[in-house]
């Protein structure tokens, strides 16, 4: 019968290996230990002492396992991916925390006790509820963010996906970006927070979207939820193209041709979304429009109820602020595209 200590030692070495490998290595170790014991045949001491001597010479089971299974990439995420992983993780967690905090506040505004409520207990309940909601949502969102970033980087690392800074040819080393062409970290964080917030309010919580308080008995959403739901595919496409733009900006760190391309794509989707969504006369919650008229004595549609000259069809009677938003955002997007193009081409020249 095999000595129990040897069996236990071999088991400790092989227990976490794959079955086939474990069987083979067990047989090998068995052979090795037998050979080493044979060698010590005429040494003084009991059989048990000799076994202990041999096993001590072989070293700790964990160290031996490490020698058998040790690989260059035996970590979940190793270098050079790890440095980038940490950077991305920090950015994502920060953005998630800010966006979730704002989104929770916005969604809870719906449950705010009526303004001027004398009952302290209802305010206390609301605050307590808000705190619980915020803590639990923040916890699960951070956990989700952490998991996704980690999983993606683990896959990239183990698939050996080369990152931007892995270059084989010296000429392929990226240019040191000029100050003007450099994309600031703060800019990326602001955009990331905005995108997350946009996704939460308009895609995940269309029935809440932007709650307006103080003009009705209960907070009312500024935008008509049904219209938001109708354009949700455009909203999602716009979200993804913007995330893509952010990723390219983050990886390149400067206004490159790729950033230029991604900016064009994201801007086109944003403009298309804006035209389809806010260009719909029903996009503004009619309840809000009604209350607005009652409170100010003015119509929010067109120019105080009159068609806006220079615009045809439904556009002439769009809510005036919407028209301004559409025009401003379109102009800003075009300027952004041009500026990204200039920065990309100037630094390339």
């Amino acid at each position: 019968m095999k000595n129990n200590l040897i069996e236990r030692y071999i088991y400790a070495v092989t227990r976490h290996m794959q079955e086939k490998e474990a069987t083979e290595i067990s047989q090998e170790l068995d052979e090795l230990i037998a050979s080493m014991l044979l060698e010590r045949g005429d040494h003084p001491g009991s059989e048990d002492e000799k076994i202990r001597e041999v096993l001590i010479e072989l070293g700790s089971p964990a160290a031996l396992t490490q020698k058998y299974t040790g690989k260059a990439n035996d970590s979940l995420i190793g270098q050079p991916h790890y440095s980038l992983y940490l950077k991305v993780l920090k950015l994502v967690l920060m953005a998630v925390a800010i966006a979730i905090t704002i989104a929770i506040l916005v969604s809870l505004i719906n449950e705010v006790p009526s303004v001027g409520s004398p009952e302290t207990s209802s305010w206390l309940n609301w605050s307590l509820n808000a705190l619980i909601e915020w803590t639990s949502s923040l916890f699960s969102a951070l956990l989700g963010g952490f998991a996704w970033v980690t999983i993606i980087f683990a896959i990239l690392y183990h698939q050996g996906v080369k990152l931007d800074f892995d270059v084989n040819d010296l000429d392929d080393l990226p240019e040191v970006p000029e100050e003007k062409a450099r994309i600031k970290r703060g800019e990326l964080i602001a955009e990331l927070v905005f995108v997350t917030l946009f996704a939460v309010l308009f895609i995940i919580l269309p029935y809440v979207n932007l709650p307006i308080i103080g003009i009705a008995a209960k907070p009312i959403p500024l935008f008509t939820p049904e219209v938001l739901i109708n354009v949700r595919y455009l909203l999602i496409a716009s979200l993804f193209t913007t995330i893509l733009e952010l990723i390219v900006k983050f990886v390149d760190g400067r206004y490159s041709l790729r950033v230029f391309g991604a900016t064009i794509l994201a801007s086109l989707f944003s403009i298309a979304t804006l035209f389809t969504w806010l260009g719909n006369p029903q996009a503004l919650n009619p309840v809000f429009a009604e209350r607005f008229q009652e409170l100010t004595g003015m119509s929010i549609y067109g120019l105080n109820g009159q068609p806006i000259s220079g615009f045809g069809g439904a556009w002439a009677m769009l809510p005036f602020p919407f028209l301004i938003v559409i025009i401003v955002v379109t102009v800003v997007s075009i300027i952004e595209i041009i500026s990204a193009g200039i920065k990309a081409f100037i630094t390339k020249a």
Binding site: I25, E28, L29, E31, L32, M36, E57, K67
Partner: protein, 113 residues
């Protein structure tokens, strides 16, 4: 002095890492089992521990440089390793490289004597 010794040991380990591959391949021209290699190399003055040789033999086999066979004819089954055709090519190249490196390093060290 402690740190001096540790640093020295670390450098020795680094130096021997590649050489161990070369030496083990050299001893597998004929079928050999792990412990036999440990003993024969020790007799020749190249001390290498069994817990290094066994994992190394497996790794070289996985890389296609060695092939193996279990000999079950005795009551103590043993796994014999022998160099493969790919291993022969690898070993020849490694050996040439070692001779060249050895010569160059020796020359450099002789200069500064």
């Amino acid at each position: 002095m402690e740190e001096f010794e540790i640093t020295f040991e670390n450098v020795i380990v680094e130096m021997r890492r590649g050489l161990t591959n070369l030496v083990v391949l050299s001893q597998c021209q004929q079928p050999a089992y792990g412990y036999e290699l440990v003993k024969s190399l020790a007799e020749k003055g190249f001390q290498i521990e069994a817990n290094t040789v066994y994992p190394l033999l497996r790794r070289l086999e996985k890389q296609g440089l060695l092939s193996s066979d279990w000999d079950t004819s005795t009551d103590k089954p043993r796994k014999y390793y022998q160099i493969s055709p790919l291993g022969v090519r690898f070993y020849d190249r490694l050996k040439t490289h070692w001779f060249q490196t050895n010569e160059t390093v020796t020359e450099i060290l002789e200069e500064t004597k």
